[in-house]
Amino acid sequence: MLSAILSPESIAQIDREVTKYPPEQKQSAVMSALRIAQTELGWLSRDTIADVADYLDMPAIAVYEVATFYNMYDLAPVGRNKVTLCTNLPCQLQGADKIAEHMQAKLGIGFNETTPDGRYTLKEGECMGTCGSGPLCLHNNHKMHTHLTTESVDKLLDDMK
């Protein structure tokens, strides 16, 4: 039961997403439902995916296909702070490689790794459509930080609890 694992606020958000689409097209809300569930629970387990499927009257495999196709869903636990750094060409030209090295050295982990205390996960991202302000990263998928320097990265990471 999705209502057993998510707060009433999250359920209300999912219900609002469902109203955007024709009544017979509830499935259209699946991407948002997965996002909302992941935001509350930290990641998407097989059980969570099955509960989302039940809630939207979808086969579990159809929801699983969506969860595995889009790269911002996490199908395994991540740190409390997931930092996704864009390393694509425009950001690379503007210094993303240096930021990547600095983040990895500071946290002692590589991309797709989590610190032993569960505080940070580092990911390499693809274009975030904000290239003029690179280097840049996303914090927990939803908050963007631009114009990164080694100094600003130090402060940013230190402030993440």
């Binding site: 259209s28 060409l89 693809e126």
Partner: protein, 428 residues
Amino acid sequence: MSLSTPTDQVCMWTLDFENPGSLATYTANGGYAALKKILAEKTPADEIIAQVKTSALRGRGGAGFPTGLKWSFMPRSFPGDKYIVCNTDEGEPGTFKDRDILIYNPHQLIEGMIIAGYTLGARAGYNYIHGEIFEQYQSWEVALEEARAAGFLGQNILGSGWNFDLHAHHGYGAYICGEETSLLESIEGKKGQPRFKPPFPASFGLYGKPTTINNTETLASIPWIMQHGGQAFLELGKPNNGGSKIFSISGHVNKPGNYEIPLGTPFATLLEMAGGVRNGNKLKAVIPGGSSAPVLPADLMMECTLDFDSISKAGSMLGSGAVIVMDETVCMVKALERLAYFYYEESCGQCTPCREGTGWMYRIVKRIEHGEGRPEDLDELLRIGKNIGGHTICALGEAAVGPVASFVKHFRKEFEYHIENKRCMVGQ
């Protein structure tokens, strides 16, 4: 209170005002006047499409297809539901203009989508917003609420008896969803894998209903065209390339950012606006239209004007207007390695030539970059490219080949040097 929007810029004029993204700023400067006039006068759809055709507005998302022509494909008298969809899945490396429209002029996009919905007989519209810009997804939803409260959306809009609503759909990380049919699959709650065409979306689109999909900047240009006329829009640019256009310039320039300038402006002018090449370095190469557009060496690029026809003549594409600038310190092999990885990572896996070929191309460029290249590798890269292009359902295949083929064509010596000497010609 001004009755009409400023005329020198189409989309980014709000930046000259306080609170550029607010409803108050927009309506105080002629915003929503075009919609009000259309609904009050019940302007025939054919008349609106004729204005859009006259304007020579071409799709701003990358393909440059004439918007008026696309609109004319829509079976407007088809009974039942029809949809207008806006493509803000802006993930083409180098492109960051649509995000700024959501921030600085969200209501002009909303007005454009409503006018498009009215013209094409749609019951509803969706704006598909790139996953990584969640904050803009949220702020655009706030703008929608403002428009709804002001009576521009919902039932009986402005007393016209016409009903129409708009919604935002949030992506979650898939470059391929910028392809219009995979975007539709994604709104339907599926993996974003492109559909075979035909049937085209105008006959079988969202939920199988007639659908028109346009880019954000394209739709945001519509209110301007309806206020000032298609002819005025055309005259902002040059023949066959109407209007001003937002150019996103990134990479090795002193002032990366968005610049809205008339189509046909010399590239040299844009480069100067962006503060020139950083550190006074020499310009080496430019990707003029987003990462899928073939790269051009500096001397070719400096002769170009920024419009569809000039860039195409030089052997590349204006694309989305994303100009990636590289100075003399760039190793072209390293730059291509990153782009080749991108297409490998983002191939949706549906068509074998693209799924496998993008991986082959990436691994070959990677080994050249890392000093393990073989003499036959360059011809092999080009051969693989030929076996991808034209053999896939969507254009991602060609998009992946464009950089590879053009980097090797224009900078072959640099690749050969890498293979022979196992290191780079240029000091990074």
